[in-house]
C-alpha cells in the first residue's frame, strides 16, 4: 500500500502490528462503540458556528499575486530544548523564507497582546501589513529592514510585505 505524496510518507514504517488498509476508508471501520462516541461528540462538541463562518471567510484573505514565505523556524518547536514561553519572559522567534528573502520576527507578549520586532534579510525597506485577528496594521521597514509594531492580537498572524521593485510576499499564517 503506497501513500505517495502524503505528508506522512517518511513516517510510514512497517511494523508487526501493521495491516493493509484502504487508506481512504473510514478509519473507525463502523465499530458500534465508535459510532456511539461519534454521535455523542457531535452533540456535545460540534464545531462552533462562529468558527465555521471564519473558515468560510478565510478564502477572502487569500493573496493571489504574492509569493508565500514559509515558516522555516519557530523557537518553540525547533530549538533543542523545548521550553514553555511565558508572558514577559524569553521572546519567541519565527523565521519565514521565500527565495532569497528571510523575514525574522520576534514576538514579545505585552499584556494580552503582542509586540512584533522584525528584520528583513537582506536588509531592505518595505511596506508591511500585519494581518491578525483584530484586523490589519500598517508598518514600514526602514532602510536596514527593521520594523516594530505593537498591539498585535494573539491568534492567527501573517505579514504581507511590498518592497519597491519586488513582488509582494506573504508569510504563512501562524498562531502567536
Amino acid at each position: 500500500m503506497t501513500t505517495e505524496g502524503s505528508p506522512i510518507d517518511e513516517r510510514d514504517e512497517p511494523g508487526q502490528l501493521d495491516e493493509l488498509v484502504d487508506a481512504a476508508g473510514d478509519a473507525m471501520a463502523g465499530d458500534p462503540l465508535g459510532e456511539q462516541l461519534r454521535r455523542i461528540a457531535a452533540t456535545v462538541d460540534p464545531v462552533p458556528d462562529h468558527l465555521l463562518q471564519l473558515a468560510r471567510e478565510s478564502f477572502t484573505w487569500r493573496s493571489i499575486d504574492a509569493e508565500l514565505a514559509e515558516l522555516a523556524f519557530d523557537s518553540v518547536v525547533d530549538s533543542e530544548r523545548a521550553v514553555q514561553v511565558r508572558g514577559g519572559g524569553e521572546p519567541r522567534l519565527l523565521t519565514f523564507a521565500a527565495g532569497e528573502l528571510t523575514v525574522e520576527v520576534e514576538i514579545i507578549r505585552v499584556g494580552s497582546g503582542c509586540e512584533l520586532v522584525g528584520q528583513l534579510v537582506p536588509p531592505r525597506p518595505a511596506a508591511i501589513t500585519v494581518r491578525h485577528r483584530s484586523g490589519t496594521a500598517e508598518v514600514t521597514a526602514d532602510d536596514l529592514g527593521r520594523f516594530l509594531v505593537g498591539e498585535v492580537a494573539t491568534g492567527p498572524m501573517s505579514l504581507r510585505l511590498r518592497s519597491t521593485g519586488g513582488a509582494a510576499v506573504v508569510t504563512d499564517w501562524v498562531s502567536i
Binding site: 502524503s6 506522512i8 513516517r11
Partner: protein, 198 residues
C-alpha cells in the same frame, strides 16, 4: 465526497470558486476541530488552531502537491499548529519527551467541563454522559486517537495518520486496543452498550 471529487473541489477553489471553498470547509471542519480537541485545547486555543489552519490552506491552495489529499494536509497542519499552541500557552508545563507525549494540563474549558455543565443537553442520558466520562478518562494517546476518529464526517486512515503522526498500518490495531480499553472501563462501571460487533 470521494477522493477524486475532493481533488476537483480543491482545483475549483484554486480557480477562485467560493462555493468550492465552502464545500471544503463543510467536509473537513469536523476533522480540523477534532484534532485541536484531541490535543485537549480549550475553546480559545482550539479556535486559534482551527482558524490558522484554514487561513493556511487559503494561502497554500496553489502549492498543494496532492489536491485529493487535502484532508490529510489539513489534519497534519492542525496537528503542528496544536503542538505550537500547546507550547506557547502559559498554562502548560515544560516538556522534553522526544516521543511527543506531552503532559498536558486540562484546560478548564475542555469538553468534559462543558459536557458536565450542559445538564439540559438532550442526550440519551446518563449512559451517554457516562460513556463520554469514561472516554475522558482514557490515557493521552488513546484519547487523542479516538477524539480524531470521532470527527464528523468520519476521517480516512490517511487523515488520521496526519492528525496523529502515526503509520497508517498501526491505526487499526491501536484503535481496537483503545476501544477495548474503553469497553473494559465501561463494563467496570456497569455501563452497557459498548459491545463489540461480531
Amino acid at each position: 465526497m470521494e477522493s477524486n471529487g475532493v481533488g476537483d473541489v480543491v482545483l475549483a477553489a484554486r480557480d477562485g470558486d467560493d462555493g468550492a471553498w465552502r464545500r471544503l470547509v463543510e467536509r473537513f471542519s469536523g476533522l480540523v476541530w477534532s484534532v485541536a480537541r484531541g490535543y485537549r485545547l480549550g475553546d480559545a486555543d482550539a479556535g486559534d488552531v482551527f482558524q490558522t489552519t484554514w487561513l493556511r490552506l487559503a494561502e497554500n491552495l496553489n502549492r498543494l502537491e496532492n489536491p485529493e489529499r487535502v484532508g490529510a494536509w489539513l489534519a497534519t497542519t492542525a496537528r503542528r499548529e496544536a503542538l505550537r499552541v500547546v507550547r506557547t500557552d502559559a498554562r502548560r508545563v515544560p516538556f522534553g519527551d522526544p516521543a511527543g507525549m506531552e503532559h498536558l494540563l486540562i484546560d478548564p474549558d475542555t469538553p468534559e467541563r462543558i459536557f458536565l455543565d450542559l445538564e439540559q443537553v438532550s442526550l440519551d442520558t446518563d449512559r451517554d454522559k457516562a460513556m463520554w466520562a469514561a472516554f475522558e478518562g482514557l490515557s493521552g494517546r488513546c484519547r487523542e486517537l479516538l477524539r480524531v476518529l470521532m470527527a464528523t464526517p468520519p476521517p480516512s486512515y490517511v487523515e488520521v495518520a496526519g492528525a496523529l503522526n502515526l503509520p497508517i498500518g498501526s491505526i487499526g490495531p491501536t484503535r481496537r486496543r483503545c476501544l477495548d480499553r474503553l469497553r473494559l472501563m465501561l463494563s467496570d462501571r456497569g455501563i452497557t452498550g459498548g459491545e463489540r460487533y461480531s
